[in-house]
Point group: C2
Chain length 101, copies 2
């Protein structure tokens, strides 16, 4: 078992949607019972799209949504040079747990 | 009681975030026990932002999240002239129910 296989969290970034759909499918096919889809800010849409594609189409009979959790993360704003400032800002977060039926 | 007050669903569109935060607050202040935040596609991010701002900041002591539900809606694609075609396409949907503590 490689390092990758142990990690059952798929972080949603700016790749095409299907990259994440494939990543989730791969995790289940490699034997994971649960896979977490995590996203923050603008990527939360895509996390829900991935969840819907997996549970309503690609793995409809095998996988269902166990839980959906929202939250907020605080971080230090960066200035125009990309350097951290003392100003705090918040971003919303989304964690969806899928499980084998 | 006006028509508006009866309706406890806030649909998230493309207005500034605070318009929806205010709409949700208004509903609770007018006596609603529950308020539903609904969004589809690209507006789902904003729905989660509104939920977080209400439950973690503006109404932290009064309101909490009761449920978060995702889904898909199918509709007919429009052609370049804006006319409905026979081609189906899907969009993800998000419904968040907030309730008074």
């Amino acid at each position: 078992m490689t390092e990758e296989k142990k990690d059952n969290i798929v972080f949603i970034g700016s790749k095409p949607l299907m990259a994440y759909v494939n990543a989730v499918q791969m995790q289940f096919k490699e034997g994971q019972e649960k896979v977490q889809i995590s996203a923050r800010g603008k990527n939360m849409n895509a996390a829900i799209d991935v969840e819907q594609i997996i549970t309503q189409r690609f793995m409809k009979d095998e996988v269902e949504t166990e839980s959906i959790k929202t939250g907020s993360e605080e971080f230090n704003k960066k200035d125009k040079d990309g350097k951290e400032t003392d100003k705090k800002t918040k971003v919303s977060t989304l964690d969806i747990i899928l499980k084998k039926k």
